[in-house]
């Protein structure tokens, strides 16, 4: 989190001196950053800059070679593999390729995220209906994903990612396969989710898109964080920061990955 936003801001993600090497080649090199509760951050960089690797390290599909990642109460250096599932329930992940279950209908694709947490059928029906309404797909709940457009499939993936009310949503090039109109639609949906208090960290190589929407932007190149700045904010930034500062976060009080 940048200093001008105040020392008290609660961070949801803290990354300290993070490096990741594959066969002695740096994919990420000495990354330091924070993401606050309810913040929207674009992670920008060309292909191979390390964006996907950084997201993987945040949802702990992989672990750093050096340094550490902290997501809520989960610390990568103290993380047991058996506990990774608990972290995944607190974060949502969306990919360019949608990654849906094509042998199950729309409802079940979203419900699966709640099935793993052991929610009752009643709760699942209620929450999935609510989220599908939010993404505009409730009327297609009984259809199979393969019969839907790319934009609709991505909305299913987003619905699945947010159905458990995650503290943070990680999106890895979520608009990479979509045309400009649908891209805008998906971005608006992500902003809408963000407005509900979920922090969003979205990786993209599309700088034009980022300039269009404006937000905090992290520039990544050759595995190094080159810039961390606010390109422009379309909305009331002071109100937004006030909400960020008050929000105890979805991991609950008593944790903070850092206030630097």
């Amino acid at each position: 989190m940048t200093a001008e936003r105040g020392e008290e801001i609660r961070n949801i993600i803290g990354i300290y001196h993070l490096s990741k090497r594959y066969n002695e080649k740096f994919a990420l090199d000495d990354i330091n950053l924070h993401v606050a509760n309810g913040e929207f951050v674009f992670l920008v960089g060309p292909s191979g800059a390390g964006k996907s690797t950084l997201l993987k390290l945040i949802y702990m599909d992989d672990f750093p070679t050096e340094g550490q990642v902290i997501v809520g109460p989960f610390v990568s250096t103290q993380m047991k593999r058996s506990k990774v599932s608990l972290l995944r329930r607190k974060i949502g992940v969306v990919f360019q390729s949608f990654r849906l279950l094509y042998d199950r209908d729309v409802f079940e694709n979203v419900a699966i995220a709640m099935r793993v947490t052991g929610e009752s059928s009643y709760e699942i029906k209620k929450k999935v209906a609510q989220v599908l309404t939010q993404v505009g797909l409730y009327h297609k709940r009984n259809e199979m994903p393969s019969t839907l457009s790319g934009g609709e499939q991505q909305r299913i993936a987003i619905a699945r990612a947010v159905v458990n009310s995650p503290a943070v949503l990680l999106a890895d090039e979520p608009t990479g396969n979509l045309d400009p109109e649908v891209t805008e639609e998906i971005l608006k949906l992500l902003f809408h989710i963000n407005a509900g208090g979920t922090a969003v960290l979205m990786a993209t190589h599309d700088l034009a898109l980022v300039k269009q929407f404006g937000q905090r932007i992290l520039f990544l190149r050759d595995g190094r964080l080159q810039e961390d700045k606010i390109l422009g904010y379309k909305g009331d930034l002071s109100q937004r920061l006030e909400r960020i500062q008050k929000d105890p976060g979805r991991f609950g009080p008593g944790w903070n990955p850092g206030t630097k």
Binding site: Y59, R81, S82, S85, L86, L87, R88, R89, V93, R99, L100, L101, D103, I112, A113, R115, V116, T117, G118, E119, S120, S121, R160, N164
Partner: protein, 292 residues
């Protein structure tokens, strides 16, 4: 794992088998063939064991007595034998009983015996030996000890037969153990690989489940249930096929015996366990390598 998860996973296992009917049918067919080989092997082993047990029952010592012994002398010989630790049962066969048995054995040719003026057969004891003593060396010692008793003319225990039987038994058991191990390992290998193929075909599903926070137990349970169910079905199919083979082979091999009901139940339970364990082995390996 709570009740909601358990019921969902149970439903999910059967729903997946229904959704992927072709894969399930191929898996069950491969498992059935593999288990049929195991069942055939076990039935052959079972029959061989029965044959060996029956042959062991026939292991007896025939103690022929001198002619003209008094009752006291015969009693003394009887008491001398019955007191021996290895002796299980002792039956006295008088000269007349021996002659009657011989006549019965000869059947239609028993008329030949009319030519005899006296009964040439001696009185004897038929000595049954306790199972643990039915070894060549023990029988030889026992025969030698009985042979030294007063009034005993000769002791016969089919030495050559017992020696050959003993060596065949050991060879058969040795081969049986080696073949059994190979068949069981092959069956497990085939089941694990069949399940592994099913796991690979559901790689994307597993990765998505991991992504949304499913634990390894949540992911493995449906495979475990499917493996156990398919193992059970495959066991029943292989038993049915074995029964057909048994029906055809019964005439060719007289005395062939099918699995007893309790052995059939044990076979099905073992196959269920093999299916479940095969699934688990395949899945554990996959989860470790592909997802971690």
């Amino acid at each position: 794992m709570n009740w909601n998860q358990a019921t969902y996973l149970m439903r999910e296992a059967f729903r997946t088998m229904n959704r992927q009917r072709a894969v399930t049918i191929v898996s069950v067919a491969i498992m059935s063939l593999s288990l049929l080989i195991l069942a055939v092997f076990l039935m052959i082993t079972d029959n061989m064991m029965l044959l060996m047990d029956r042959s062991k029952d026939e292991m007896k010592l025939y103690v022929y007595l001198d002619d003209g012994l008094t009752n006291e002398q015969m009693n003394a010989a009887y008491n001398g034998i019955i007191r021996m630790e290895a002796v299980d049962e002792l039956v006295f066969i008088s000269k007349d009983e021996a002659f009657a048995e011989f006549r019965a054995q000869l059947g239609e040719e028993s008329e030949l015996l009319e030519a005899l003026e006296t009964n040439p057969l001696p009185a004897s004891f038929r000595v049954s030996v306790k199972d643990v003593y039915k070894e060549t060396a023990t029988l030889e010692t026992l025969a030698s000890t009985i042979g030294r008793l007063d009034g005993v003319a000769e002791v016969n225990y089919g030495k050559e037969f017992i020696e050959r039987f003993s060596s065949i038994t050991h060879a058969v058991l040795y081969v049986d153990m080696v073949v059994g191990l190979i068949v069981i390992l092959s069956s497990l290998f085939i089941i694990a690989n069949t399940v592994h193929l099913a796991v690979v075909s559901r790689k994307e599903t597993i990765e998505i489940l991991k992504l949304v926070g499913a634990t390894n137990r949540f992911i493995t349970t449906p495979f475990f249930i499917e493996g156990a169910f398919q193992g059970g079905i495959a066991a029943l199919i292989s038993l049915a096929a074995l029964s057909a083979i048994f029906g055809a082979g019964r005439n060719a091999v007289p005395g062939l015996v099918f699995f007893s009901p309790d052995k059939a139940v044990i076979f099905v339970l073992v196959c269920i366990a093999m299916g479940a364990l095969g699934s688990l082995a395949a899945l554990r390996r996959y989860l470790r390598i592909e997802i971690g």
